[in-house]
């Protein structure tokens, strides 16, 4: 129960998760901070244009981990796919391998990807995005 899932029908597109993720991972001086939650516009059945957010599925058989030439991605004991920034060489092999278009790259060309707030979860804390989700759409699950 460590993966972050989204009950799409209850998402309002309020974007709190996107900024909570940034706040968790960056200092306030990081003006161009990149969130691990990717936000995109959708049009609902009624015609409402709003944001939706998505992030890493933490696949059990993660193709991104398999293709990695270095140890910049690994699966931890909770089943979360963890990026290791120091070991990322910016080759973008993970981008090509990911079927869900998740990997993003920052100003230094390094991978930015959800780590499921693994350290927080290991200490009994919710991932920052789940903690703040205003509607309760984001949950922990399998």
């Amino acid at each position: 129960m460590a993966k972050i899932i989204c009950e799409e029908k209850n998402c309002s597109g309020c974007l709190a998760c996107v900024v909570a993720c940034i706040d968790q991972h960056y200092d306030e001086t990081a003006g161009e901070a990149l969130s691990c939650r990717i936000h995109e516009k959708i049009t609902t059945e009624t015609g409402l244009v709003r944001y939706t957010t998505r992030t890493c599925h933490h696949c059990a058989d993660a193709p991104c981990v398999k293709v990695y030439p270095t140890e910049a991605l690994y699966i931890n004991e909770m089943g979360l796919v963890i990026p290791v920034r120091d070991k990322c060489i910016g080759c973008r092999a993970c981008e090509a391998a990911c079927p869900f278009d998740i990997p993003r790259f920052d100003g230094e060309g390094k991978l930015v990807k959800c780590d499921g707030c693994a350290a927080r979860q290991a200490h009994g804390l919710l991932p920052a995005c789940v903690r703040t989700c205003n509607t309760g759409a984001l949950k922990l699950g399998e």
Binding site: N10, S12, G13, C14, L15, A16, V18, V19, A20, I22, D23, Q24, D27, E28, T29, G31, E32, A33, H39, T43, T44, T46, G47, L48, V49, R50, N76, E77, M78, C117, A118, A119, R120, A122, H123, L125, A128, R131, T132, C133, N134, T135, G136
Partner: protein
């Protein structure tokens, strides 16, 4: 369990002895919601925030998108940290640091000089955001002798409060839906899932889950309308006609509560006659809402009543017919017998808690209020919003186009971009003898001031908070005041002392006095609360109000709920109809030349007026401002998605990117307000306002769109 190194724990901001990270409780303070925050602290600095989940508070563990950026709000490089005085020309933005002593003695001296040369009323005192010190600022105005005290509320909440007073004899605060018991909810023009997303989102979804009939009237699709039983989409500014049409259906189908009306209301016969003309077909022609939906809404509203009416402070009164539109909506509450009853609007139960002399707890009459600058033009305002001046015409007042000129302006958190034609306000600033602005940031408004003072944030001062059902909490500042910032109350009290004036009862000398005064009547002391970090329950039982008490204490002149307003009748002014008469704003506009409706300021989750543009984490989420237009209209005009176009009104023009967006209605141009370089308020007409309330028609003006190549052709 996986072992983490100290460095990894620090990086993940995990609290504990190993990292030295602690968690402190504070209030966000970004808007007026008072969400409690758990701030992660390291070496005296905030390194992360999240919603407090250790107390039974409304925001339980959550912060909205704006609150999540709190770190950037507090440590922003444009924070004003020291008193400054202007050294360049007004508007140029050149300032140099001065001492508090020099700043405060200069301000007191200038206020005294103004009073001696022109009379105290030549000083206008203004409060923007935040609101908590307004009562004491009014006391300062009274002691000094000026009736000219105005606030941002004169284009935010007060017009709806005025409208509510005319019908219910109570303000918006006294007319909330009885959410816990209602079976039918009418939400008119509010999208809580953005504007109050932390507390409003979950409660809205819960109502849906409970099977409450939710009717949402909103000219746009929003997340709230997506979770509604029925959504009506009127053209902005036609809401009054829609409400009158629903009333026509209710009365013609005999769905109204005649026994309730006869017992509690006045003016029904005249109202009934008036609404009889608003047939569903006529309403469709005015509002664009299909006739069958008007009928369905009227039936749904009365099937499982009474109904709770949920509205917001301002969206419905940002039209030049706003007060009457809200009165027409409020009349539905009377018609269905929904006011003061369980499951209805303003239902029985405990009153709203609050602190002594807190914001709007005990509104003060002003000295010489009948000589303030707005009373003659806005007589209903003068009676019902007696505690403040309507300052929509602030530029005129500063230029002496009112009964007399304003020479000195003392402003707390003023943002002149909130008014239509802010350029006029800028010109008027230049003619002032003296201008002080107090703010957290060095804003565009500060650039026109002679002295600017740095205000403390909510995190830099001790605060008292009333939580839920009478639990009171004392919150200590969690960071040292940055630079030389002081809180607004300290500034007000020092100013009073320097002017040799006494304010408060008992007299307030310092901030602690203010906190102690706030607690009077709660049965708790400041010392007790300081020693109880999780707060203390307010002793004694909360006063409960019954339906009988509510309906026998209606504060209108007739003592009854009024379909026909005796206050408006007594005003004897054009447009002050005593019935909730619908006047179409389009008849006053040059719609031939400017055929599209310009609707500004509809909420986006990440934006809250001008200040959000300052925070990169919020501003970077999407391009703003842009023009949002329904593709049907865009295609007719030959404008592609993402094309740069010119939006033109009778006042001016701005170039912006246009996005196709089906959220709004065809024919309506939506633009968010407050951007530094592309302020849509520059295109609004400062004379286009509601003659009853003075509120600008921000949400229903006119415009046309021009393709850019037309300019070159």
């Amino acid at each position: 369990m996986e072992k983490y190194t100290t460095e990894e724990l620090l990086q993940a901001r995990i609290p504990g002895e190993e990292t030295g990270i602690t968690v402190k409780r504070t209030i966000c303070g970004f808007c007026g919601e008072n969400c409690l925050v758990d701030a992660y602290m390291k070496d005296g600095k905030i390194i992360k925030v999240e919603g407090c989940d250790s107390l039974p508070v409304a925001n339980s563990g959550k912060l909205c998108v704006k609150g999540a950026a709190l770190k950037q709000t507090i440590y922003h490089p444009e924070r004003l940290l020291y008193p400054m005085k202007r050294v360049g020309a007004r508007g140029e933005g050149r300032f140099e640091r001065i001492t508090w002593e020099e700043a405060m003695s200069t301000i007191a001296q200038k206020m005294q000089e103004t009073k001696e040369s022109h009379g105290a009323k030549a000083t206008l005192v203004y409060a923007g955001h935040p609101k908590w010190f307004r009562h004491q600022l009014t006391e300062l105005c009274n002691a000094y002798g000026t009736p000219n005290f105005g606030t941002e509320s004169s284009s935010c909440a007060y017009a709806r409060m005025l409208a509510n007073e005319t019908v219910f004899g109570t303000t918006g605060r006294g007319a909330m839906p009885d959410m816990a018991n209602t079976n039918t909810l009418l939400i008119w023009g509010v999208n809580q899932m953005y504007s109050r997303s932390v507390t409003g989102s979950k409660s809205h979804l819960k109502l849906e889950e409970k099977g409450v009939n939710i009717i949402v009237v909103d000219s746009r699709h929003t997340p709230t309308t997506d979770h509604a039983t029925l959504h009506l989409q009127p053209i902005p500014g036609t809401d009054g006609a829609l409400a009158l049409g629903m009333a026509q259906v209710i009365i013609s189908e005999n769905r109204h509560d005649m026994a309730y009306i006869e017992k509690n209301c006045t003016g029904f016969e005249a109202y009934k006659d008036y609404v009889s003309g608003f047939t569903p077909e006529k309403v469709e022609a005015i509002t664009g809402v299909p006739a069958d939906l008007v009928i369905r809404a009227a039936r749904l509203l009365t099937e499982n009543g009474p109904f709770g009416l949920q509205m917001s402070a301002s969206p419905m009164v940002h039209h030049i017919n706003g007060v009457q539109n809200v009165r027409a909506i409020n009349a539905l509450v009377l018609l269905t017998g929904s006011f003061g009853v369980k499951g209805g609007t303003a239902g029985p139960g405990p009153g709203r808690g609050g602190f002594k002399n807190g914001f709007l707890m005990n509104p003060l009459h002003r000295v010489d209020a009948d000589q303030d600058l707005s009373h003659a033009e806005f007589p209903a305002w003068a009676q019902l919003n007696f505690y403040e001046t309507q300052v929509t015409r602030i530029a005129d007042y500063m230029e002496g186009k009112g009964d007399y000129p304003i020479h000195t302006l003392i402003a707390f958190g003023m943002n002149h971009h909130m008014w239509a034609q802010p350029e006029h306000v800028e010109e008027a600033f230049k003619g002032l003898d003296f201008f002080v602005n107090i703010d957290m940031y060095k804003t565009d408004t500060c650039d026109y001031a002679d002295i600017i003072l740095p205000a403390a944030t909510a995190l830099e001062r001790e605060q008292l908070l009333m939580m839920g059902k009478g639990q009171i909490l004392d919150l200590q500042p969690i960071i040292e005041p940055m630079g030389e910032v002081r809180n607004d109350m300290e500034i007000i009290l020092e100013l009073a002392q320097r002017l040799d004036l006494e304010i408060g009862d008992p007299v307030l000398k310092n901030y602690d006095d203010y906190l102690r005064m706030s607690l009077m009547g709660t049965g708790l002391t400041l010392e007790e609360l300081r020693a109880a970090p999780d707060g203390l329950p307010k002793p004694g039982k909360l006063a409960m109000r019954t339906t009988e008490q509510i309906l026998s204490n209606v504060r209108t002149p007739s003592g009854k709920l009024e379909f026909v307003s005796s206050v408006l009748e007594g005003c004897d002014m054009p447009h002050h109809d005593s019935l909730p008469v619908y006047r179409d704003f389009r008849e006053t506009l040059p719609m031939d030349e400017y055929p599209l409706i310009l609707c500004t300021g509809c909420r986006k989750p990440q934006l809250f007026h001008k200040r959000t543009y300052r925070m990169p984490w919020l501003n970077n989420l999407e391009e703003s401002p842009v023009i949002e237009l329904h593709p049907e209209t865009a295609k007719k005009l030959g404008i592609a998605d993402g094309e740069m176009v010119r939006v033109v009104t009778p006042i001016g023009a701005l170039e912006m990117r246009l996005l196709h967006d089906t959220s709004g209605l065809p024919g309506v141009v939506h633009v968010y307000h407050g951007a530094r370089d592309k302020d849509i308020n520059s295109l609004l007409d400062e004379k286009y306002y509601d003659p009853i309330s003075g509120f600008p028609g921000y949400k229903s003006y006119c415009c046309r769109l021009e393709k850019l190549e037309q300019k070159e052709a």
